[in-house]
Amino acid sequence: MKKLSQPIVELVGISKWFGVVQALQNVDFRLFPGEVHALVGENGAGKSTLVKILAGIYKPDAGVMKVGGEVVELRSPTQAQALGIAVVQQEPMLFPDLDVAENVFMGRHPRDRFGRVDWKRMHREVDQLLASLDVTLSSHTPVQGLSVAEQQLVEIAKALSLRARVLVLDEPTAALSSHEVDELFAIVKQLRGRGVAVLFVSHRLEEVFAIADRLTVFRDGTHIITAPVSEMTTEEIIKHMVGRELSNLYPKSEAEVGEVVLEVRQLTRPGVFADVSFQLRRCEILGFAGLVGAGRTEVARVLFGIDRAESGEIWLKGKQVRVRSPQQAMEYGIAYVPEDRHLQGLVMNFSIAANVTLAILPQVSRLGLLDPRREQKIAGEYSSQLSIRSSGVEQLVSALSGGNQQKVVLSKWLATNPSVLILDEPTRGIDVGAKAEVHRIISDLAARGLAIILISSELPEVLAMADRVLVLHEGRVTGTFTRSEATQERVMFAATGQDR
């Protein structure tokens, strides 16, 4: 491992805001050629934002970026590529209808002396590239047929053909089997040997120890520490990742937990999650902790009838049920507040009232006709109950802040009068003040008799709100803690699969 004095990429004082949320705060970061550098942190720590800034997709609001010693202002991904920065995103951006070779060379096809696309040379070069990486993929394969792992390999091949000096891998192993991870690491080691700087974003610590030379920990958008991996232990890393004062920002009122409302036994969806079992009681908040890709949302989708499990049982209030559609789930009293309120939770062009009543249309209509007064009344009730700040229930939700939008989604589902409420990342993208409000609401709901599943990647949130914590790792339950047992370290251990 060569340590050159000149970093290939240098970020100084980088800050980035998204509305009121500050994703990066005065971050310094250096990447050297020929090293594998791991970027570690919880969800929301700012890792992806940093990656997108390196990729030229986002522009920093403050700070300086230097590539190869020269100050640059990246205005587009194309510019980043031209400077030798190649980024493999979590979602590979490939052309599904074209083959591997073309995906690598799109826009820069090798040409023969007549100016025609030289297919033979293109395929040969890509085959050589793939072979040099010890990858047994053929350049003729249509990308459509590739697994996520293979698509990533195509992106890496593309980076290599671009003579990238920096390769950024954003959570590359989230969808890979351990065999595929081994293959990937072999390639990364090769690249390191060639002098490429590899930035490896992950929260899987066993991988960091396997492959990285140095690591950097981010937390809440700030740079915490950078050190050689050999000098760190897992406990230390986790402490840096989570180490914060757990203040009393999240008031959870005490309530007597009631009878079992929902019981899940050995729920399995092959390739996604396996043997998930738990019980949920009235007035209880059950936290689902885990890392991205652990399978928590997938379990929720099965409970809500969007996906189907292959085996396992779902018992509601003592009776076994099969949830075949969201409609059925609602009939059983299950409500699901989805992860992405823009894509799944709200109709942006609708008013608050229209969104709040979208799941209870029969209740606000008589003989099939909507009753606007009843709509407004219900919307108004929830609006005041949840303190939704707006210019009225007829205002379009697209004009609301993130926090208020989330409250609208909550209202929609509360209006269905559920007995089981599944919340998927309910405070994502919301500022601190609104977060506390939402937590208060959730706590009240539990006190009033709801059984709540709280899926969250924010450890403090889970620990403060949940009566019990269920931890998932790669589709399996790796830990169950009561409130008193759960600590950040213990949960993170289970979430990273340490306890297996």
């Binding site: 969201p326 939770g345 979208l358 006709l369």
Partner: protein
Amino acid sequence: MKRLKSLLMSWEALLVVLLLVSIVLGAILSPYFLSGFNFYALTSNIMEIAIMALPMTLIIIAGEIDLSVASVLGLSSVVLGLLWERGNPMWLAIGVALLVGLVAGLLTGLLVTRLALPSLVVTIGGLALFRGLAYVVLGDQAVSNFPTAFTNFGFSPIPGTELPWSGLIFIILALVFVVVLHFSRLGRQLYAIGNNKEAARFSGINVSRVKLVLFILSGVIAALAGVIFTARFSSARPDNAVGFELDVVTVVLLGGVNIFGGRGSLLGVVLAIFIIAVLQNVLGLLNISGDIQSLAIGLLLILSVLGPNLARRIQVVLARRRLAVGSSKQL
């Protein structure tokens, strides 16, 4: 988004202005324009398109399209004619014709919802298939000896008025559709589906079932239009209403409905229907038939989308300039 809303509102306002302008123009350009008989002719000419535009509006708002409507019209027309010719009572012939429309809509709907096929291609196929079946049924024959009551229904106005019977049907249907789209549960679901299919699904809306119902409705209404068309011309032929589907889609788009779904109102569509009716009528009165009308309709259609697009781009550029000026002021 409020800006968009007001933009849309002003689209209907623009249409009202356009309609008034064309009426005034018509009155000026031709002494016959304001006659009762002309009103009758103007209206009855457009009724089939108008009626089919109602379910088409709902379908496009829901994010789909149905290009087979005119062919279903033709098919139901020949079925009607054939049954009548073979000696069946009129009510039976009409009933079966409507049933044919229902089945056609069901077929299209199943292909789009069960097999998740793109409605553009499926209904282009349907356009050819149903028209073709119309030719198979009747060949190059035509049935024309319909009972007087039937032809009266198609040809004469409602006694005491200048309104064609089909006009009455349209008014009733339009009222029903307005209520459904703008005041009913189903209408809310349609807008939700057209705006955000995922969110609609997550809210418990059965997207497949809603779309299936829409296509079936489209088929039945197209068949109804077929009955009306047959009565009007007193002739059932396989080539009845060839090309009408484009007129129907044009009228809906001109009415301000967004081709991608989720946006639009029936008021706009109704206004657009009458603008085109008046245009056709005036040009006909001036003995300018077909040609300039086609040109005008085509231009109107393009401008209806191009106009707001360009306006928005200009707004953005102006806003950016204002911001730049503003920030330079701060320096």
